[in-house]
Symmetry: C3
Subunit: 306 residues, 3 copies
Amino acid sequence: MKLARKDILGIRDLAVEEINLILDTAESFIEVSTREIKKVPTLRGVTVMNLFYEPSTRTRTSFEIAAKRLSADTINISTATSSVVKGETFIDTAKNLEAMNPDIIVLRHSAAGAPHMLSRVVRQSVINAGDGAHEHPTQALLDMMTIREKKKRIAGLKVSIVGDIAHSRVARSNIYGLTKMGAKVTVGGPSTMMPRFIDRLGVEVHHHVDDAIRDADIIMMLRIQTERQDMSVFPSLREYANLFGLNRKRVALAKEDVIIMHPGPMNRGVEISPDVADGPYSVILDQVTNGVAVRMALLYLLSGGN
Amino acid sequence: MKLARKDILGIRDLAVEEINLILDTAESFIEVSTREIKKVPTLRGVTVMNLFYEPSTRTRTSFEIAAKRLSADTINISTATSSVVKGETFIDTAKNLEAMNPDIIVLRHSAAGAPHMLSRVVRQSVINAGDGAHEHPTQALLDMMTIREKKKRIAGLKVSIVGDIAHSRVARSNIYGLTKMGAKVTVGGPSTMMPRFIDRLGVEVHHHVDDAIRDADIIMMLRIQTERQDMSVFPSLREYANLFGLNRKRVALAKEDVIIMHPGPMNRGVEISPDVADGPYSVILDQVTNGVAVRMALLYLLSGGN
Amino acid sequence: MKLARKDILGIRDLAVEEINLILDTAESFIEVSTREIKKVPTLRGVTVMNLFYEPSTRTRTSFEIAAKRLSADTINISTATSSVVKGETFIDTAKNLEAMNPDIIVLRHSAAGAPHMLSRVVRQSVINAGDGAHEHPTQALLDMMTIREKKKRIAGLKVSIVGDIAHSRVARSNIYGLTKMGAKVTVGGPSTMMPRFIDRLGVEVHHHVDDAIRDADIIMMLRIQTERQDMSVFPSLREYANLFGLNRKRVALAKEDVIIMHPGPMNRGVEISPDVADGPYSVILDQVTNGVAVRMALLYLLSGGN
């Protein structure tokens, strides 16, 4: 089976069969990263451009490693070191990069919808590596891959997502993906961090974290973006930790074999206590490993692999 | 035929036969970028260092893609992320890089003459990727390649270059190259943006843009560097746009089959109106595509290819 | 013979046989950098991560070139362009990178001991590329390689290290290495730049540079870190140059065939006069060349080569 689409812009527009294809392909790539020679010639001659308008360590590195393991060439462009700020429009930058004939453009941008705009103006495949508070599809795919790996299924599981739901592209992509795959999704967080009309997304909403995570198969904690934090949203980090942070006592409310996820980077002692982050239920580092495999799968499938 | 020189420092010192050789070679490389596997093993084991003392997206990316399509290794060094500012002299930095045995050093520097100085102290080939307001030879070569591609010749054509001639390395390199290749070059711009002794370069000078572009085969608009802009040079961007910006009405003064060029990044609505930039005469994105091919040709020829 | 260790954290814990093995291996790699095709397939499929928490041109470039000459893939992460500052702990960053399955992590960090901490939490090989004022083992190895190359031995030679001994990781690593290899090490510098208990390291201490370098076979000048310089340590750069700078007159106090070393970047006219830096005794650029070979050797040996 082939992935019959040009781009990966969001989970919202992916069909269940497409998600399954991506996860199956990613699983088959896990093995490459454990070989002695961690490289296959599959994408030799393919150029992957990482175009990052927001700083990122793990996502950019993950894409770069994924590309290199497939023998693709990578070009990193980040606003920190480039002249993308010289007054040129985003579309002109895009058309210029297109004219250099890369094959796949990976875009992170602070503006929701930027990858969609890019996709419309360039003939290359576009992968959304996070756009504003909108979507972060590769994160949701690696999360679903991790759930499937640990639980052997997604359908029927109770997944609790806790934190700043309103401003989280990770939450949004996971809500789209997990509900699509048949999971029961519960969200928990202070009302100031809950988007309007959240109930229309087919999730159960709780304002007390204990209610949100009760009997959960999976708890997915979101990062509190302390750098953006505005005291009108929440009085203090300490109060957030007390009311919404995940600690061992709260984990006990979930199923006995619950797994704990976090997209990183973690604020230890804020949204998650260190003993939970490092505890036996935590699959946080498996998520990272699966991230490379998911990105390999996407680069491969968008290049016409099957 | 081989390119019998160590460096590409400027168009001024290139002979007509050398320019033809570079353009012919670049043409033959256009095809590589359209293949499914966009990579040839020609420069395997060659190391290209991109040493950028000024920020750049398109030029650095273009060189990096060019090198990778030829299977060369690339090392990027930019002052934004490195310690080149630690008080070491430029020549010491150069000698240090030389001692690591790269093969070709691509240098962008804000100081006119920096590549020439580099070339004298290192045994490696040096390519000038723009030095101050002096020269930008790879830009002029890709411009000439684009003109030849669209017009099948350069000799005898009327090329009008419009904008801040005094501070433009693009203008200077193109004036050297185009006059050498037999084109008739006209420059237009406010008198405050016209270099002294410009007439000695063998060009026709106009201070009204309409006069400059009348009957032109090619109009080459220069970027107004709004970030450097000093109100003593020009009263306002709006006034500049009115008096010197290229719009559809002005294009009508040129030949019917005129082509419009711009080295990018464009300030839409300042030196060029959006409908002209995106219109049928615009070859701005062809310039970008040809830029990769020209840089492949230079890397290849300087490595001893023929 | 194989290098039976996971990491290179410092010279202090290397045995003489290990140092000899590294230097012998490095010597055999010198030839690769002089070939027309400067690349061997030895480390194909190996991923080297350059994780730099301090800016660096020469060390990062040297590691990157070394890796590429062995056909390894390189991933550069620098705090200047990444989100490593987002509040994540260093160990969490490390565990995340580990989860992406690189093979070797090269770390530069301003905190002494950071590579040791990294080494304890990740299964990958760690190479210390400089940690605070603690160690810079690859610099000391390339220095010892240069001494051996020029003098055919290390044992019995008199090596004078002059400058800010207290804050220099280069000095510390060289003192460990050179005394281990049988050299007689003398240090010279103002008392405010001399570490407490320096005599316990088996070196001779002088506070007058002339005494320190008398009859030296090797003079190793340290960089004065003018950017960190605090006037409580030394009154002025000019006074430093007069009292501790190496000039031609002082060189005459050393052995006739003395060689002059400097780890770079140099402050010409401060710790070293230009005529000495560029003079016949200077082996400063040989150090840089040998740096690539030493790093190739380490990448090779830590990957299981023999």
